[in-house]
Symmetry: C2
Subunit: 328 residues, 2 copies
Amino acid sequence: MNDREMQTIESLHSIIRNAFAELKLPSYPAELYQPISYTLSLGGKRLRPFLLLAATDMFEGNLNEAIHPALAIELFHNFTLLHDDLMDQAPLRRGKETVYKKWNSNIAILAGDTMFALANRQMMLTRVDAIPQLLELLNVTAAEVCEGQQFDMNFETRSDVTLAEYMEMIRLKTAVLLACSLKTGAVIAGASQRDADILYHFGINIGIAFQLMDDLLDLYSQEEKFGKVKGGDILEGKKTFLYLKALELAGSDKEELKLLYQSKDLSKEDKISEVRSHFDRLRTRDATILEIHLYWKAAKDTLNNLSLPEERKTILLSYCEDLMVREI
Amino acid sequence: MNDREMQTIESLHSIIRNAFAELKLPSYPAELYQPISYTLSLGGKRLRPFLLLAATDMFEGNLNEAIHPALAIELFHNFTLLHDDLMDQAPLRRGKETVYKKWNSNIAILAGDTMFALANRQMMLTRVDAIPQLLELLNVTAAEVCEGQQFDMNFETRSDVTLAEYMEMIRLKTAVLLACSLKTGAVIAGASQRDADILYHFGINIGIAFQLMDDLLDLYSQEEKFGKVKGGDILEGKKTFLYLKALELAGSDKEELKLLYQSKDLSKEDKISEVRSHFDRLRTRDATILEIHLYWKAAKDTLNNLSLPEERKTILLSYCEDLMVREI
């Protein structure tokens, strides 16, 4: 089991870069495939393909059988971003114009649909006996991601969203796809169903932790992010973990915070600073960091149950830990 | 081979009705699944599921293994209608409000995406050894249908569309899904690859014939169709077979017809009647009927190559013939 040398974080990233460089898309009709190339060229962390390949490598699977599924997951993810950006009317993605802005809404719809079909096809370029399970997993996950996006849109116009509802929304919208990536990698490697499910649960926990981290960094980031306003979630009145946790902690001041959060009368700076002073008083930041640590610890504990020697878990753990502690 | 009694057109329709009645969708989030139920409840001919089941039955396959794939094809088809209606800003579908009108654009996008995922899942509820081929076929077809829709949208703003380009567009937008339905049914029944491909080509030919029939009936229908204006395609300036064929036949009057077709100065009645008098003079109606007959004949000839006794082809042939001669 320990004979085979493991990949490094850098070697896995290099496999992913090469796979994208070699991905051939049709060129015709250009109006359909150019936006897809453009979207894929915007890059990003390639978190999901990385998790998939790392999972295959953990179980000493054949990485060649995991490369196309890794592309599949990223194609699928980018399809959801393309449609989400249109639904949310977001002008920028990774500092560049979103597809519906650069082209138009119809092209964003249709290019997204096509990417979903391409994702399903890429997922099938693997061990033939794994295809039914992998396709079922991808499409169950796809419906869940849509449900998550629907809940997220519903929350925009609701004033009674609970923290529990929020946690379920981010599980669906974000966490299940990380879980799906990891489980896919494990299945390709021929891991036991039990081990594949353990990785799935690991993915749910890190997915939730990552999303809570995003919520935290929107307000408390030390770095300036290109194209992002610090406190942007507050300005949009987004029901984030910070806000919903603050409401929970607020006691009798709850209504005051609700009114403030919905208010449109204040200047941007004043709104952010007033909400932030509520958060400070309620120690919302600490409560959020605690919650992140709980999910991260749960993730690590889950991994203890894997039937693998510790050294085969290190790449995945150190990669996730790097993402986890990047700024807090 | 002739022992097993074949289904009738009515018994196949009844299987489809029961399958839809038994299809269980999640109920939550309601904003996502209600539009899907609504769309499916609008009915329609269920042409694609019928073709799929008829193909399975032709080869004496197990219809129980074909029912979920038949639902898959109709879910997929309705997903494309949902997105097409949004892209085309069509207010009505089968005389009822379209989803983006009744709810909103975001719900139409997301409900469509979910239907595509559900379609893939339904397609997998069949013989496990057929899954890789069927999923590949469905998703290749999906990308082709998107390409067809993109060409169709491109044609709206182009004045130099050729008849050959139009034929390729309707092959992609319409015919490949009928072909996919038939081939899927054949594969499920364990037909030879050759026979499955023959049915695919039959589907392409009837798909094109049906679309040309639609183009013809838009102007020359004997019946009044609920919610449809006779000559609607002319009013929209749609580049249909009738129009592109007329241009081909027009010779030196070509530019005159082009200008007339794009004109926005005439009353609705005058525009239709003036275009129609060009068509009459050029015998466009006869040319279209001839083309339909050629595709229908090609379809029937294709079917002669199937390694099946004639009596096993009769249901499919008589069903298609009924659709074919419904009005001309």
